[in-house]
């Protein structure tokens, strides 16, 4: 039985360093190659030694697919391709290909230049790695090789986020990456067709959450920002440079305009302009409304939002600052946080999920004293607000996607074990399909049962369809007979006669003739007719003919009658049939030996 194996190297019952190995139809595919934000040691990257202990990965992998540009999905890519060694194709969408190297470079700078780590990938490695990238277009079927094909679907999580359908022969797997089933202010909703994969590998970040409407959350968010500004506080919104940031910027921009607010809004890092520019150039990846109106008004040209300078943090008065990164684990957002944490007028709004181990995660759990590097502690007095803006599907969304794709099996990754367990139960109950949730390094094996594609001769098919009538009759299924010829890699189904011809074989006729003596005091023709009537009544549903040349034919079995030379009342029946009618022939000879019933006319 063919099998599909799925092994998470990262994101197995965990969020962070997504990296999932899939073995399907003899092909090995790596889905995502991310880093873990909660760790600063070896655990930061997936454990590639699982694939091979020594040497390069090229010969073990047919391709690598990156779902989107978030570092927990692509952060380990240069390490994997340049330091461990992989030269095969890496697939990602155009926006991901454009933005991914920038975030990687950012990540490298923070790690190497600021934290002073060595043995890390270099700028050149990022460039070399990106040279191996093959861009993917939405819905394009990319033939990785003769057997393996992949197709990307819109995932709506961030600009360029994609789900991928991986297919080998008639087996297939869908990997969702991170996705969002409700359109937001800048992106559309994820969509997939009814592709019925053998396994649907889905993220499950919000496996147990059903979120209230987006509008309410937006209103809440604006209210909180507004209140804080009113009382002269500073609002810090840690974000990743691309994604939520743009959504919230659009939200604040329109709010500021409507309310005629004057407090400044800043966006940290030099990436701002650039980031917004990506959105302008890849506008086809945003939601319908933005796409429709972009000629008149480009939503990514902000009037109220200005670039941030480090010195502004100490300016008096209210302000809103978007700063990177989103989980407060390093960089500018952390610096500003340290500055503002002591004042209860200030506020930090966490608009997304925070990985365990990050400061974001700690303050969200209500920690009021933080241990910082160098054994100092930081008192957290400012208001901490959490607002789920990260664009992951919630439980409802995940169920919705299952309904869309109709998978035969389900596999959960990118979530916490306890929550997964709950969702798994729900899925198994609602859809009666198996649901797997392997931990890192654990393999889930799914046996598939693919049908076998065969070339059927059109003659045979047409004959069969004509006989079968326009509508199938479920009570009386028609049986079709043919010969399957297996030659090299081709499978052909033809009628037996054609099979003989195609194989260059002669047909060997096997015939049987049987004489049966019968006491029947009638003339030969009458006897024949009596036989005909008798058979007619016994054999229902068979073609029985009384031919003018003095024979009776049952299907292709010939029955003749002659009188015995000695006794005219003794009739000799001659039955002749071919091997193909053996069952019927044998039955008839036995039947007729018993004589004809009386009362026949």
């Amino acid at each position: 039985m063919p099998e599909i194996k799925v092994t998470p190297l990262g994101a197995g019952q965990d969020v962070g360093r997504s990296c999932i190995l899939v073995s399907i139809g003899g092909k090995n595919i790596m889905l995502d190659c991310g880093m873990h934000m909660g760790y600063n040691d070896d655990r930061r990257f997936p454990d590639f030694s699982y694939i091979t202990q020594n040497g390069r990965l090229t010969e073990f992998l047919d391709c690598v697919i990156i779902s989107h540009f978030h570092l927990d999905h692509c952060g380990a890519l240069p390490y994997m391709s340049e330091m461990v060694g992989y030269d095969g194709p890496i697939y990602m969408t155009h926006p991901t290909k454009a933005i991914c190297p920038i975030l990687l470079e950012d990540f490298r700078k923070i790690t190497v230049d600021k934290k002073g780590e060595t043995n890390f990938f270099t700028s050149q490695m990022i460039k070399d790695c990106m040279k191996k990238v093959v861009p993917l277009n939405l819905h394009q079927t990319v033939q990785v090789d003769d057997e393996l094909e992949i197709k990307a679907y819109y995932a709506g999580h961030v600009l360029g986020a994609a789900m991928v359908h991986i297919k080998v022969g008639s087996e297939s797997v869908v990997y969702t990456g991170d996705y969002n089933m409700t359109p937001d202010r800048h992106l559309g909703a994820a969509w997939i067709d009814k592709c019925r994969p053998d396994i649907l590998i889905s993220e499950s970040t919000y496996a147990t959450t059903i979120r209230d409407s987006k509008r309410c959350r937006e209103r809440d968010f604006l209210k909180k920002v507004h209140e804080s500004i009113e009382r002269g506080g500073k609002v810090l919104i840690p974000v990743f440079a691309l994604g939520r940031a743009q959504e919230l910027c659009i939200l604040l921009e329109t709010f500021w305009e409507r309310m005629n607010l004057k407090a400044p809004i800043y966006f940290s890092t030099g990436l701002t302009e650039k980031a917004n520019h990506y959105y302008k150039l890849f506008i086809t990846w945003t939601n319908q409304k933005i796409r429709k109106t972009f000629v008149q008004r480009n939503m990514f040209e902000f009037k109220h939002i200005k670039a941030f300078d480090r010195s502004y943090a100490d300016n008096p008065g209210p302000m809103v600052v978007f700063a990177t990164p989103g989980m407060l684990h390093a960089g500018q957002s952390l610096q500003i946080f340290k500055k503002w944490a002591g004042n209860e007028k200030n506020m930090v709004i966490m608009p997304g999920y925070c990985v365990q181990g990050t400061i974001g995660h700690k303050i969200l759990n209500g920690q009021k004293k933080l241990e910082m590097e160098g054994r100092s502690t930081l008192d957290v007095k400012l208001q901490v607000e959490y607002m789920s803006f990260s664009a992951h599907a919630d439980a409802k969304g995940i169920m919705q996607l299952i309904r869309m794709a109709e998978p035969r099996n389900m596999l959960l990754v990118h979530g916490e074990a306890v929550k997964m367990e709950f969702l798994k139960g729900k899925i198994e109950q609602e859809f009666s399909i198996d649901c797997y949730m392997p931990a890192n390094g654990e393999t889930a094996t799914v046996t598939t049962n693919p049908s076998v594609p065969v070339d059927i001769s059109l003659n045979l098919l047409k004959r069969e369809m004509a006989l079968g009538g326009p509508l199938p009759d479920p009570k009386k299924p028609r049986t079709m007979h043919g010969t399957l010829i297996m030659k090299e890699n081709s499978l052909k189904l033809v009628s037996s006669e054609q099979a003989l011809k195609e194989l260059g074989l002669n047909e060997h006729q096997l015939r049987f003739t049987c004489r049966v003596q019968l006491q029947d005091p009638h003339s030969d023709t009458d006897t024949l007719h009596r036989i005909y009537t008798h058979l007619k009544s016994v054999l229902k549903g068979y073609t029985i003919q009384h031919l003018p040349d003095g024979t009776v034919m049952v299907e292709s079995i010939v029955i003749k009658v002659s009188s015995s030379a000695e006794d005219t009342d003794t009739k000799v029946l001659l039955l002749s049939w071919s091997y193909q009618d053996e069952d019927l022939g044998s039955f008839l000879s036995t039947l007729l030996k018993k004589g004809l019933p009386s009362g026949l006319c």
Binding site: V452, D455, L505
Partner: protein, 658 residues
């Protein structure tokens, strides 16, 4: 498989392919050359055009003063311009399942088809094709509606009258097919039927065929199409280009192994080299400006104009044109320039790389930013106050019959300082200029047609090797004006099948196989036996299920166990239920070996008699005959069923079952 040809225009095709129970329209081109027979529609009142004399036949018997006007020695129809539609009578267009669009120039007849024929299907196109196609239609509608002309002219179309008209009106064909432009409402409704597709996306049509667009390299989002089943493949090649301009390069290799290749949309200017033309364009432009004249470039608002602007971007400074204003005037100028920047996926590699930086892929963004290029929706409004001369104006329509270009013709035509440079190849420039004669303005003809030329196409066909090629008849002979140029036609072996408007071609196809899927349970139950080295056969009995043109074979369900019958006595008389028929047999029964086998089974008294075709074995003790021949065995056995079955099984041992 049949091909219905609804358009005679080789670059504005409209064909319908019937293939495996699907009806597929390939492109929906609108032949606009008919507008050359009409008077221009001036944007501002033109005393010259309004005072033209009406036409009366020489003998005075036919008076069409109202409909026809004499202008510059020719006769023009004075009514809203009309277009020549694809044929609508050749087949019932409501039966069309899908329409495949290859590029935005080949979809302009779409509203006529989707809105007025009972069409209920789907139109497939790429996103740039849809968006830019929409702009071009919007522009066309705008051009027409801006200058409303209530009058429609039909008298001249009367056969008896048309016959006596002067040329070229006299020779105009299918004039009753000519129709006025559609409305924006019809455009919106037509385009709402478009389903977007990406290159190499595989789309299933009713489970019967699969269609897939391929990059054709001609314009943004332009595509060729593959229409295939598991066994047959038709390639539809429409406007394609191998030149490196802005679009993604042409995908040639996917065209390989086609049974039929339908070839349309070759260059209309086989003797004009696009690069040379571009050079000539630049030098004429610079010369005119230097001499203090204006340059008018009648053009479509998308397509080659992007390349012209890019070329000028590089040329402006070296030619000292830094201060010359460039104007692009069209109701969709802004949209066209904006849209061109957002289709990174559909651009050539160089331009894609720019987007990764992130920079706009086309340099016209910079021309706009530095105020060198300005765009306006029309000559009215801002343009009239900001307009400076000498300048360069890009505007439509290239036929010079409507759009803002008409105004510039009236304005600049009288001065020999000005130059009009034709770059679009769709219209004969002499015909386009006819109603403006006499003209003092210089005319330069630099048609830029990047589509495949005959040299490129024969190389391409050699590469992809289709079994049969179908093409417009124009491609099977040299152009009329250059009848000695045998290099300007397709020469193939076997020769291409030519079509013309209203042709119905039977495509040379023999379908022999269809795909069927054997369900795993049935597949596992098959018992293959090797007949020849490497070839195995298995007899198969199954139930065929056909749904949505997909066929599957399932195991035959076991009959439910017969209910315990009370009349046991009669059971024996139940005829056998034959579930699987006996296989065919092959091979021969060798005499010696067979005799030996008989002996093993205790049949020893065998008399062998030789006949013409084999042997007759007489089993004397059993009074049974076996006739052994090369291609048959006949067992004659009376009243001894056990013996007969034994003999049967012994014979079967020597034969192969198929």
């Amino acid at each position: 498989m049949k091909l219905y040809c609804l358009s005679g225009h080789p670059t504005l095709p409209c064909n319908v392919l019937k293939f495996k129970s699907t009806t597929i329209m390939l492109d929906c081109g609108l032949d606009t050359t008919s507008v050359l027979n009409f008077l221009p529609l001036p944007l501002v009142h033109s005393p010259r055009l309004s005072k033209l004399p009406g036409w009366v036949s020489k003998d005075g018997t036919i008076n069409l003063e109202k409909e026809l006007k004499e202008c510059a020695g020719r006769v023009f129809v004075d009514a809203q311009p009309e277009f020549c539609l694809p044929e609508r009578e050749l087949l019932d267009l409501s039966t069309i399942d899908v329409i495949l669009i290859s590029n935005y120039h080949c979809m302009m007849a779409l509203p006529y088809i989707t809105e007025h024929t009972g069409f209920t299907g789907t139109v497939y196109a790429t996103e740039p094709t849809l968006q830019i196609g929409r702009l071009l239609m919007e522009e066309l509608v705008n051009f027409m509606e801006r200058v409303p002309k209530a009058q429609s002219a039909t008298c001249w179309k009367n056969k008896e009258i048309q016959r006596v008209l002067p040329g070229p009106l006299k020779d105009a064909v299918d004039v009753w097919m000519w129709k006025r432009c559609y409305t924006m409402q019809e455009v919106n409704s037509a385009l709402s039927k478009v389903q977007l597709v990406g290159y190499s996306q595989k789309v299933e049509l009713f489970g019967a065929v699969q269609i897939s667009p391929l990059s054709s390299g001609y314009s943004l989002g332009s595509s060729n199409w593959i229409i295939q089943s598991h066994y047959e493949k038709v390639s539809y090649v429409s406007g394609s280009s191998l030149l490196t301009t802005h679009p993604q390069p042409m995908d040639q290799s996917s065209l390989k192994n086609s049974d039929v290749l339908i070839l349309t949309g070759l260059t209309q200017m086989p003797t004009a080299n696009p690069d040379g033309m571009l050079g000539e364009f630049c030098s004429n432009l610079a010369m005119t400006i230097r001499a203090g004249g204006n340059v008018l470039v009648p053009c479509y608002s998308s397509g080659v104009i992007y390349d012209l602007l890019e070329c000028l971007y590089q040329f402006i400074d070296s030619a000292n044109l830094g201060t010359t204003p460039f104007y692009f005037i069209s109701p969709v100028a802004n949209s066209s320039l904006e849209f061109s920047q957002i289709f990174a996926e559909w651009l050539c590699h160089n331009k894609q790389t720019k987007v990764y930086l992130p920079e706009p892929p086309f340099p016209h963004a910079e021309l706009i930013q530095t105020n060198k290029l300005k765009h306006y929706p029309s000559i009215h409004g801002d343009f009239s106050s900001e307009f400076r001369q000498p300048c360069v104006v890009f505007t439509g329509h290239p036929s010079l019959r409507f759009g803002d270009v008409v105004h510039f013709m009236e304005l600049w035509g009288k001065s020999s300082l000005n130059t009009i440079i034709f770059t679009e190849p769709d219209f004969s420039y002499l015909d386009a200029l006819a109603p403006y004669q006499p003209l003092a303005m210089k005319c330069v003809y630099c048609p830029i047609d990047t589509r495949l030329n005959f040299h490129q196409v024969s190389k391409l066909l050699k590469e992809v090797q289709p079994l049969h090629v179908v093409c417009p008849e124009q491609y099977t002979q040299p152009p009329l004006t250059q009848s000695h140029r045998s290099d300007l036609m397709l020469e193939l072996q076997p020769p291409p099948m030519p079509y013309r408007r209203c042709s119905v071609l039977s495509l040379p196809f023999r379908r022999r196989y269809e795909r069927v899927y054997i369900l795993p349970e049935l597949a596992n139950s098959l018992v293959p036996s090797e007949i020849k080295p490497g070839i195995s056969v298995a007899t198969l009995s199954a139930v065929l299920h056909s749904k949505d043109n997909k066929h599957t074979l399932q195991s035959v369900p076991k009959p439910p166990p017969a209910p315990p019958s009370k009349k046991r006595k009669r059971v024996i008389e139940e005829p056998p239920v034959v579930l699987t028929p006996k296989p065919l047999l092959s091979g021969a029964v060798p005499l010696e070996a067979f005799l030996a086998t008989l002996q093993k089974h205790g049949i020893t008294e065998v008399k062998v008699e030789e006949t013409a075709d084999g042997h007759i074995l007489h089993l004397q003790a059993e009074d049974t005959l076996i006739q052994l021949e090369e291609d048959g065995t006949h067992i004659v056995c009376d009243n001894n069923e056990p013996l007969r079955t034994t003999l049967r099984d012994l014979v079967l041992r020597f034969l192969q079952k198929v």
